[in-house]
């Protein structure tokens, strides 16, 4: 007696195939659109490779010891280089970093830890975000009015401060984000042992959040090194090595801008070589930021 053996046939349904026909419109559209985003991704990467190719071919051909040490050539002169511009860029970025990193990190400490939801913190955070979209040339105009007009001269100081205005919001927001990643438990443990706010921040939060803070800081420095608009009428340009900080100062980006429009091949070759150096500086900072930023608290 085994009624399970009896085949009870289910009513016959017309079961559709579970395979999708590849030429059905839905499936075809799927394939086409997939090809389309692939195409978009490839198109978007063309400019980067084209820029790098041009820099290596055009700039690399001219990049030698003379180019990175000599002074910029005038008009019809052959040879020359942009040594003073490299020094100027590094000095002004240094000034900007020296101002914006301490200020930005301290502001971030307030925003992330001391009083994250106070009125001041919310307003500052919002304004910092607005400032990141602030046109960089306006930083130049602002510093021109504040420093160049009052001191009566274009200077490396003015250029550095203009770059600092642009770096400050980036450093602040990145440092705040990094400090927020520090687990609350660690802070609680330190507070539980009777630490003051300052001790918790200096001995727990800063060391733990350091990789993230450094990433933000280095990226901000890289961005500042490539900036040119804020230097245009704060640092101006100079054809000589800088002797002091209170005089017009050359920078790589302004040199590229000035030389790009000149009708002389020599200057245009130098503009490419200077671009190569500038992009290398920026890329080195970017790679550095990636290496440093491998924090253990990131998911």
């Amino acid at each position: 007696m085994n009624h399970l053996d009896e085949q009870v046939l289910p009513p016959q349904f017309d079961l559709p195939s579970l395979e999708r026909n590849a030429f059905e419109w839905r499936a075809l559209k799927n394939t086409l659109l997939t090809g389309f985003v692939w195409l978009l991704a490839v198109i978007a990467s063309i400019p980067l490779f084209s820029v790098i190719y041009m820099l290596v071919v055009e700039g690399g051909a001219r990049l030698d010891l003379e180019a990175i040490t000599a002074l910029p050539p005038a008009g019809f002169e052959m040879g020359g280089g942009f040594g003073n511009a490299i020094v100027g860029t590094l000095v002004m970025v240094g000034i900007a970093a020296a101002i914006s990193i301490p200020l930005g990190t301290m502001a971030a400490i307030y925003l992330a830890i001391l009083d994250p939801s106070s009125k001041l913190a919310t307003t500052s955070r919002f304004l910092a975000k607005v400032l990141t979209g602030f046109p960089s040339i306006l930083a130049g105009v602002f510093i021109y009015a504040v420093l160049v007009v009052t001191t009566g001269t274009y200077s490396a100081w003015a250029g550095g401060v203009a770059l600092a205005v642009l770096m400050l919001p980036t450093v602040t927001l990145a440092a705040e984000e990094a400090m927020k990643q520090v687990p609350q438990k660690m802070k609680d443990a330190a507070f539980g042992m009777g630490c003051t706010n300052t001790q918790v921040i200096m001995k727990v939060v800063l060391p733990t959040g350091l990789p993230g803070i450094l990433t933000g800081v280095i990226l901000a420095v890289a961005g500042a090194a490539g900036e040119s608009a804020p230097l245009l009428f704060t640092a101006l340009f100079s054809n000589y090595y800088m002797a002091e900080l209170a005089e017009p100062t050359a920078s790589l980006s302004i040199l590229i801008y000035n030389f790009s429009g000149m009708p002389f091949d020599n200057q245009i070759e130098l503009a490419w070589a200077a671009s190569l150096v500038l992009v290398m500086i920026v890329l080195i900072f970017n790679v550095l930021a990636r290496v440093v930023g491998k924090s253990k608290f990131k998911d």
Binding site: R26, K29, N30, V37, W38, L40, A41, A44, P47, S50, V51, M54, M106, A107, I109, L111, L114, L120, A121, S124, F126, L127, A128, K129, V130, L131, G133, F134, P135, S136, I137, L138, V141, F142, A145, V165, T196, N197, T198, Q199, I201, G226, E227, S228, A229, L232, S253, I256, Y257, S260, G261, I268, A271, W272, S275, L278, V279, V282, L283, N286
Partner: protein, 325 residues
């Protein structure tokens, strides 16, 4: 004498002690300093607005609102108007947004919807991030010597065949709107792509699985579920990218031609507020500088409005998926 638990618990051999007076002092100083630094951002923004406003004041008084509607910029006659620049700024940024925004969203989809192996995804993400790292002047140089020669034959052909169409109404004689807008598009692409990709990543995985469970194809899921859900985030990316484009200076100053001209033609030279500042400021006299300060103020107001709008949309998106942020 009263019982003092601290006294009996402490002995000469322990290191633990309550914070000393100097610890409290250091703490108070440190906190005051941090407070001041947070305040400095506020003061900086206030100072920028005040300084640009007061510098522009004489020009505002002499030119009034006619400055914004005037179309000539003549130093000798001291007639200043920035309508062509406002037009050029908005037009070039809109064109850049059309190209860069579309590409950016496409790439955000490509990077977040599992089209490629995670390693290739990282490679493409790095490429897009590096696009943002290249300095503006380098793009300008590349535009002059690579992009303009590349565009010229196509532009000539379009002008010859379709010259009656306003977009192709003039010849591309070198610098012009088309190369400027293309470079601008490349520059805002990373912003749009990063913010849109972030919006896609915020969508709970369940949403996608539910759609797949109903038998939707990959692209039906993307177009009918993911895109609408991420739409506010994408909008934020677009608006912030637009804000970036409005303030971009050097590449435009090198590529747009710096000609006071209102034209819808893609190949006509034009000017933007930022590149007007960059190209005329260094040699400007007293009156012209005041007018340029007014132009800077106009640019500040436009970018401020656009950026605040973008940030507001972004904030709204974050709240939507995470409750209160």
């Amino acid at each position: 004498m009263a019982y003092d638990p601290f006294k009996s618990a402490s002995s000469a051999r322990t290191l633990s002690a309550p914070p000393s007076a100097s610890d409290y002092l250091k703490d108070a100083t440190f906190r005051a300093f941090a407070y001041f630094c947070a305040l400095s951002i506020l003061l900086l923004v206030g100072y920028i607005v005040f300084e640009l406003g007061s510098q522009a004041m004489p020009a505002i008084k002499t030119h009034g609102l006619g400055f914004v509607t005037g179309t000539t910029w003549d130093t000798n006659e001291e007639v200043f108007g920035v309508l062509p620049e406002i037009w050029g700024t908005l037009y070039s940024s809109l064109l850049a947004l059309l190209i860069g925004g579309g590409l950016g969203v496409g790439i955000a989809i490509f990077l977040t919807q599992g089209f490629v192996h995670a390693k290739i995804e990282v490679t493409f993400r790095t490429i897009i991030e590096l696009l943002a790292a290249i300095p503006s002047v380098v793009y300008g140089l590349w535009g002059i010597y690579v992009l303009i020669p590349l565009l010229r034959p196509g532009a000539e052909w379009l002008h010859e065949k379709l010259g009656w169409f306003p977009l192709f109404g003039t010849e591309l004689s070198g610098p012009g709107l088309a190369p400027a807008a293309l470079v601008l598009a490349i520059m805002i692409l990373p912003t749009v792509a990063a913010i849109s990709a972030d919006a896609f990543r915020r969508i709970p995985y369940k949403v996608k699985e539910a759609a797949y469970g109903m038998g939707a194809t990959k692209w039906e899921v993307i177009l009918k579920v993911m895109l609408p859900t991420a739409s506010s985030g994408i909008l934020a990316g677009m608006v912030l990218g637009f804000g970036r484009a409005l303030g971009e200076t050097m590449a435009l100053a090198m590529l747009i031609g710096n000609v006071n001209n209102i034209s819808v033609s893609l190949f006509a030279p034009a000017n933007t507020l930022a590149s007007l500042l960059a190209s005329t400021f260094p040699e400007a006299g007293q009156m012209e500088i005041q007018a340029l300060m007014y132009a800077a103020l106009v640019l500040l107001v436009i970018t401020f409005i656009v950026n605040v709008a973008g940030l507001a949309v972004q904030q709204y998106t974050m709240r939507k998926f995470e409750g209160k942020k």
